[in-house]
Symmetry: D3
Subunit: 240 residues, 6 copies
């Protein structure tokens, strides 16, 4: 089984981090590789960044389809391009926000999200609504650290933000709101005594489970392969 993890930003360090984290939980027979698109923003911290990351992400999915990939993870907490990728791919596609929230839903009555910049909270709430999590998601909190500054020195700050969020929201679990925090779930959980969910690992194991059960996106109507058509300009490479 081959799972392709697409980090929609172009930061190679973050892609390497995501790959390590994904491989740490994948089963013996599962091959995981992580990639960054050739085009797009170095980090995703606005609707604008998210929108500009999608064509590169879709190019990676299109390439994956030609090379026998069984399923995909979109490794950015805004779940950019998820519906488009589901149209394009034959196998399942899972975003890390969706996977993290649905995973946290198994752990109690409510969870809280701790993310990077405050301006991204609106998107997290929008996804929570879309995924049916308005009742389960009790809060979305920013730690005000940019994505590319999530270095080891920031762990203490994020841990403290998680502890505050749990108290404030009376939450049973924490969801980490950025792929760049993927290796912090265990240390933060140890520090605060509350389960902490990372979306990258959650999404990899979800894709692995879906493929194992032979499940893929339903293709009856909305998510069928997009109708072929002409694409003008720089984007012509995306025609299929």
């Amino acid at each position: 089984m081959i799972i392709k993890v697409v980090n929609p930003n172009t930061s190679a360090d973050m892609t390497a981090l995501v790959e390590r984290s994904a491989k740490a939980v994948a089963a013996a027979g599962t091959t995981v590789h992580a990639v960054s698109p050739a085009m797009g923003p170095e980090s995703i911290e606005s609707h604008y960044d998210e929108a500009l990351s999608v064509p590169g992400l879709l190019a990676e999915v299109a390439a994956g389809e030609r090379s026998g990939v069984d399923g995909y993870v979109v490794a950015c907490f805004g779940d950019p391009g998820l519906d488009a990728a589901r149209e394009l791919a034959a196998g399942p596609v899972v975003g890390i926000a969706e996977a993290a929230m649905r995973t946290a839903a198994y752990l109690g009555r409510g969870f809280t999200v701790v993310t990077t910049l405050s301006r991204t909270r609106g998107r997290a709430w929008e996804l929570a609504e879309r995924y049916g999590m308005r009742g389960l998601c009790r809060g979305v909190h920013a730690c005000d650290i940019p994505v590319l500054e999530l270095d080891p020195g920031a762990l203490d700050l994020v841990t403290a933000a998680c502890a505050r969020a749990v108290e404030e929201d009376d939450a049973d679990a924490v969801v980490l709101g950025c792929a760049g925090m993927t290796d912090w779930a265990a240390p933060i959980a140890s520090a605060i005594g509350v389960p902490v969910v990372d979306g990258v690992q959650s999404a990899v194991l979800t894709v692995q489970a879906l493929v194992e059960m032979g499940l893929r996106t339903g293709k009856r109507d909305e998510f069928a392969v997009p109708p072929p058509k002409r694409y003008a300009g720089l984007l012509r490479d995306f025609g299929h």
Copy 2:
């Protein structure tokens, strides 16, 4: 006052149609021009098309900012790139689905949407939810005519679809679910005796009203101008 209407697909005929319709309702002192992006799909009939239309759309907004535009209309019923455009623009940005639904909300207790292909209904429902219209939007119906085949010969079919939708959903009004239907609101309303809302005109008048009142997107946090950063590859032109 200058309003720029961006038709996010690249079909010049449709852009011309949209411009005529927009100008028909704009006030004497309002200049309206409609454009298509230099890049993107010829029509938007999937999440994939929508995603690929957004970079071109944002380039048009960025150009508009440099040339003194007061407000923008996104003239595709999927409201692609709306949040990103709101970050980029100083003035208001309105999508035609949002404008059509909010306008229809003034006309009774519930409306029904008639759109093109059945695969686009999911997006219309998603927007209805996002805009708080789950109670008001009673149904989304497809007439199964592709966007580029909405020629005069299709008017009777769409009129019949609207009549059926009104009966089935017990609706007080109809929302037309495609910019390509923009000049059909009046003839269909005459034929079926129910108010029919076109998003293009609704959005133009909404932007005009917002500018008249001095209202623009709130820039405190989520919709502030995106933080500057490096964009790799073909998309480098979108840096700002």
Copy 3:
């Protein structure tokens, strides 16, 4: 185009204020006149006041129908008698709470309402629910100033209440919850750096847009003209 603005209370000063504000945004070809009913409370600060304002309001709509009015604004933030007025009028009828909330919805992910007395907050929430704004309306705050005491000296207090509400609710915009605040949107927006929406101007421009597009209340069933019948007692004048 003739738009009649009904201030449902009987305070002539407030009606004059509302008319000035409405005229300031109406298009060149639009005639706006504002009236108070001959009967009703001097201000509306309870469900009781609201209920007693409705017969007078409906009498004004009935008079408007006989004199060729194209559309109506109900200029009280409780939107009293809105559904009844929609039955009575051939053209569109818009309440200032509905117009203000729908207008604010275009300006970001969430707005906050600042109103007069705390006892009126329940009605504002009820309207927010009714209009599909439960997700968008993040709070309703009272400044504890009675309607008839909204004189210039109160502007600073209301401005401060708006600033607090924005912080507390993390809002992108403010909605002013009383027609008596109609000329304060601009100064408050300047003071706090956040868009501030006034319902009177929003409603006038909404009615103007609806009439421009030829849209009116759907008359298929619920909002058809009320069935004629006998009315006993003092209210006999309301028969039609």
Copy 4:
């Protein structure tokens, strides 16, 4: 204990019917009297009728307060003036739609409403939303019989409408949507084998229970007695 039942329309026959039905279930120590207001419509079949019934209804509540009434029933399925009456009265006030829906909620997972004219269904849905019944209320059906034509000959038609509604909505119970059907709950329940809830009896027993427990409307803020003020014109009699 004195319970005053206000039938907000002016049809004496219907008031007599409502009184008989109310007395049939009241406890030995409970005095029930039913009244019609001196002013208002002969029947309530539109938002317009409902609005015009409220001043007369409130006059009856004001009179009741002066004569020692312990609690009130508003006996029209649109629950007109309920919030205003709650401000005015020291004791509890219950509307028949609210009482019928809350009573039906005890009888299974979902109920269906059968009412008179189709144009009144919108108000029934609005009340269902307001009362938290969107999940429990599965449908609102009209039998297309005007209120004043609910004579014995119509029972078979209404029974058939109830049977159809139960099947169509897969409902566990039926709510009768008009005070004029108050004596039909038992015969319809017998005929169709499903519990049928009448709002008049439900509301009388609810008020009786509230008074028995010493419960009344909370008067902290929203439902405190309305602030005194001047009322102009014909409505001056409503000042208090």
Copy 5:
């Protein structure tokens, strides 16, 4: 009329307290007796306790059916086994959480719940959702006193918790979240000047009203008598 009140825990003192409170409001012709099951936990303070209380509760309902009981009250605020009891009983069955919340709904726009241990708040919220009370229930607060320690000395603490909850949630009424608080509604209401609802009395009067009106659980499908089958092991006595 015979109403059987089942206190699902096995504490005889609490059952006696519940019976006294129930009898204080029942009508002259209504016989009320309260019982504890022969098996089950001494108090209910977890999902585990609740689950283990249900077989004993159902045995009491089965016994009641054999002895001519007209309706039942389940006197624990978690409403354990309510749906199963409704299948088993011919007459109505009402839980005290459901009755208290629906009763409080008549008293204003929102109520707050004050319960025992914080761990039980999740269940209270779940019930509020299930009963359509998400809009009406503004908060659930724990006073952190175990059920069996609700002795007279605790009244002051619970009163203070109620006062705080009213302020914090801006509530019109309080719901007491434990059958063990049944005789505290009146003293707390006196102390804080806000209506306080006890579920035991609310449920008894609700059952009494339902029986008076001839209403019982709808038996068309979901709540029909359970299909007979074999039950293995210790629970064989529950076969019917």
Copy 6:
């Protein structure tokens, strides 16, 4: 890793079926064993059956805790006793309805549920609500075959019911609403061309993923181990 699957009914054939299905997807290093409780109903087709299955289920969880089980599956589509089991177990506990619905959520915009008897549909809807699936779950359909008659001869009937449900609900996926259908997902999916989700396999892979990631139920408050207390009567064995 040891996963214990508890089939809460006492039918050994069904437990064997469930175990085969669970083992077919578990990873190489995962030990799965399925059990039936010593007490309880032979099948679960009512709220009553469900309630009586819970003590036996909890006894199995308690036994599992003493023998080093890492996580549990509750293999009945009503998810009986799920919250109580989560209190009792140190590791994760997943119900098959929750797992099936959350899994189906990854496969499109909406799914439909096909279950056994029509009387169980209410519980399925209740769970869908509880899990945030009201928007995703488009319908719950009964095939009217009792649980113990789900033999190979019934496959064609259930397949036909799934095909009808997909058309009627315009669904992207099907959820099988009974553990007894666990080996039918693949043949039905092949027959109807739509993904079909089985809860048993979904739940096993979910528990496996949670354990792999070191995630377990949050124990801060609601789901902490139940407070110790006395249990009277036959249920004394459940004390811990």
